[in-house]
């Protein structure tokens, strides 16, 4: 079928390629003409303006947006202004599901459908396919089924194909509920992702310290002595451990596959400084947990560690040192490298 794609960054461009490869017709637009040109040379139909873009689409028009969350709302308004009842806007970015709920109500008043699609798969999606978590009205979601089926990984190779009538989840896409439900499920997906990543990272950090008993320890009143150095004499080969866990262990996962790859190519992780970004979904997941009174100690610990890695615990830590000085006269040790 025909679909319009606006926002031709890494994700959007690769999705267009995957769609065209499977026979869909793609009309594409981006504020960067070079991005449009690149896909036109691959077979897409390009547009030089938003108006031209929408004008080239057959009715009901289907416009898929892959844009930064910060501008998505504004662009949806602009697109909707050029649309008619029955048309469909698809937001495939990492928008806040609150916005999808609000925006869907606004568009519904004009007869336009908002479909929100949480999209996981990252830079690997072009080849592996994207896992799609979809929210929106039935009629719109059904209309787009063949698009979703193409973007998603599809049934597992080598297994008998599941019965699609029993649900599309085994094919890698799922209609999760009304508008907002797709971004909600994607939000929680990313919240979980933070927790899983942190579990591996903490564990690897403990393995790395398995030789602590061999290291010279500072002996002063401000440094806790290592109690049993004889139990910390192991030099663990982290890349090999990550690799072996990929084969038959309970904690095998795609993130572990990537971890093993990263450690293999750069065992000391010299290309990284340890400032871990967070992109919104982890925060929103916790707000949902707080709103609904659901305990999420693991997911919050993972998020707060990222905040700390960004330097945001500094004032709190200074205050702790100030208290220690005030009650015990403890003089702070300088930070490493200072």
């Amino acid at each position: 079928m025909q679909i319009g794609m606006m926002g031709l960054g890494r994700m959007g461009a690769n999705m267009v390629r995957r769609l065209m490869r499977d026979g869909h017709e793609c009309v594409v637009y981006d504020i960067n003409p070079a991005s449009v040109a690149a896909l036109v040379s691959d077979g897409a139909l390009g547009a030089a303006s938003l108006t031209e873009f929408v004008g080239k689409l057959a009715k009901p028009r289907c416009v898929w947006l892959m844009l930064p969350a910060a501008i998505t709302g504004k662009i949806i308004d602009q697109v909707a202004a050029l649309m008619e009842p029955g048309d469909i806007v698809i937001d495939g970015g990492n928008s806040y599901y609150h916005d999808a709920v609000d925006q869907a109500a606004k568009l519904a008043a004009k007869g336009i459908h908002l479909v929100d699609v949480g999209t996981s798969g990252g830079v690997w999606g072009l080849e592996r396919g994207y896992c799609l978590m979809i929210g929106g009205p039935d009629v719109a979601v059904q209309h787009l089924d063949s698009v979703f089926a193409t973007l998603a990984p599809g049934a597992d190779a080598g297994s008998p194909a599941p019965d699609k009538a029993a649900g599309t989840a085994p094919f890698g896409y799922l209609h999760c509920g009304p508008s907002g439900a797709g971004h909600f499920v994607k939000m929680v997906h990313n919240g979980i992702e933070y927790g899983v990543m942190a579990a591996y990272a903490e564990g690897m950090n403990i393995l790395k310290s398995a030789n602590a008993g061999k290291r010279q320890r500072t002996a002063d009143a401000e440094t806790s002595p290592l109690e049993n150095p004889q139990y910390y004499q192991f030099d663990i080969d982290l890349p090999q451990v990550a690799e072996v866990w990929r084969h038959g262990s309970v904690i095998g996962s795609w993130l572990l596959d990537l971890t093993a790859g990263a450690l293999k190519s750069d065992p000391g992780l010299a290309n990284f400084g340890g400032r871990v970004s967070d992109s919104g979904e982890g925060r929103w997941t916790l707000k949902a947990a707080i709103d609904t009174g659901v305990p999420a100690p693991v997911l919050s610990s993972a998020l707060f560690d990222r905040f700390s890695s960004q330097g945001e615990s500094e004032f709190a830590d200074k205050l702790l040192s100030a208290m220690r000085y005030a009650f015990g006269g403890h003089v702070e040790k300088p930070k490493a490298g200072q």
Copy 2:
């Protein structure tokens, strides 16, 4: 090659079957004669006593123990008393790595080797193979290579076989270091497992509450109101979400596969009450983190949630209610079901 296996529970018996299936000769022993008989009928050589068991082994004798951690130390002593220099004891259970370090030193004095093998794979290992994390002296570990190769999953089907000279990790087993290193790596593996499991469980719990805005809320001073009920109107199908995430998402994993299966067969998890056991490794992992000063907030949150599920936060919670009553006159609400 020939190997003796003592401890013929689910794990031990399945390992014997996997070994025999690949042509190894297995001498087996268990205090339960029926367990021995079952494997004898499958082709193993049985023994009726520890002495007979050790006596049937060719030199250097290799005795693999799959026993509860609580009795492993004592049995190692008994086995070693019947052994000669050059013989090998393998501890494949979930023992504390401290014990392996201590025991190895004791056995080394008699010329006997202790090899500790962290074994992951659970009830699926017979078919999938076991991920093996190995500690011990080089000579003993190398002597057992063909046994490890059989028990492990082996190279991925469908990919070109990796070069074994570059390491055995891609085959699912790894010599991690001297005695104790195997159990150390397995310990951290399980610590990570707790964290990964908790990440999924918390996320699923948040998804489950996505319809909180539809529920009747108690309106009293002791209940926080739900701020924006319009954003919590989703009835998420948890089994389908777990399934869709298995296909192309960043958080795909074997634990997620099992989670999807569990939710599919019992969406309300009616067979479970929510008392989550912990088996030692999670505790030891945290002790190692504490000893070496490595932060592990995610792994500890996962462990402490299990303690809470076992009822161990009750006194602390009563004290919190007592404080609230003392400063604010807040009367505690009864627990659900009381």
Copy 3:
């Protein structure tokens, strides 16, 4: 000076009494006539309706509201409808500071001032005085200075009185900033309160388990054995420990005073079941931390423990048990009492 008080629950009524005791004239109103009558008999001027209440106030009218957060917004609108430019509404309840920011803007358009006063002190405030955290326009806050001075504890007895020109904080009240700042500071105050309370509760729970080595332990594969029972042979007298810490220790506090009192009168805390309520501020504190990217692992752990005590971790815990069964065949132990 004259002040109107609406909302004559425990907090509001006691504040009226403290104000009258210091010579202020109080006009009072509540939907419950008996609450009005009680204070009238103590010397207050009563009103039978909102209109009468506002009508009895001299200009500029000062109306202090001590109402549940859920209805405060609506009542502020009703009061403001009866007011004129220059009048002042004071919200002394536990409202969300977002509402104070929004409401203040709305009232400012009519020339009416909103003053938000976070009020700590609980049932003890009548005698001890209330700690007041104040937000609002300078002119309104200064107009109310004598009221704040009366409600607050005042300077410490026995010390030389501090210089008020250097700030009112040593007297127990503080103008923290524009409208909303008072509730913001009170919100964080309560967030801290959750953390401090949890620190004591967890510590006391550990002390209570100091005799774990004396208890009969279940010996099964689902129960972690106690490693060194010889180190857990202490029967600690918790009420006495709480008492001794009140005298000269680093952790002395008013909450500890209350804890010692609660444990003395009911050492087993038999009057409590362990369902700990949370009242909004703890949640809002965390949302502020998340919005601004500030790590708050301790405050969030304290909040999530309360959620768990309310039974909200149950589904997550069931899922953990389901996973354990799926990979390892571990059969869940029944919950205590089941």
Copy 4:
């Protein structure tokens, strides 16, 4: 009565002064002769060697040690070698209670008593008195009662003196149980201290960010945007807030008093870099919680934040950035100041 004090650092020397001020006779020893001389000039009886020190004591000899935990065990052995049955060794340092349990058993075999005294009060103890948590045999603890009574703060001034027959806790010292119980209670005391300190520090950090809406925010894909800047426009005066909370609020405490003092003298905490030491007790508290299966999420979060402040999360954070790069192509932002 007469008491010998060895270890004349800040704590030991001040304790000698407080004892002499109340009429006790002190024999003192330290490897640093200047420390001995200073107290001799204040009226103590000095010794130039351990043998001379023990020799000057009347029977039953009472030797109080205020030494670093790392050397306490060795010195106890040396002192005990010079003692006779009925003599008493008091360990007032921050030793691990395991050591006290083990050492007491060893000394008991010679008829010598070990009394372990957890001592809280820091640099303020000389004037305020020390809170003493005591473990040991009844006969020895009772023999030392007048020493404990002097070191402790004593009954609150201005209140009627409590009945000592009902217990010594209101006087600031408590016999908590057999040898080891004193250090155990002190250990948990310090564990709580970490949690309480962290609660204040996190809350203050959130208050500090209350003006986040005024700050210029980086607008890039790796930085989460601030959702509602209008709610983060407050410039909170932290020293004043700490001060006001001291007067009538629920979270008033001695640590808050010190915090207010520290912020008043150095509002930006420019004298501190934020590397927070930990001294053993926090670690041991968590190990006790883990051993006994008691959840301690708040205390552990407080400890792990200290580890992070010491730079120990760096490798884990690098690994998180490496994973983000691997699945999403996210390029890490540089750390502040790099």
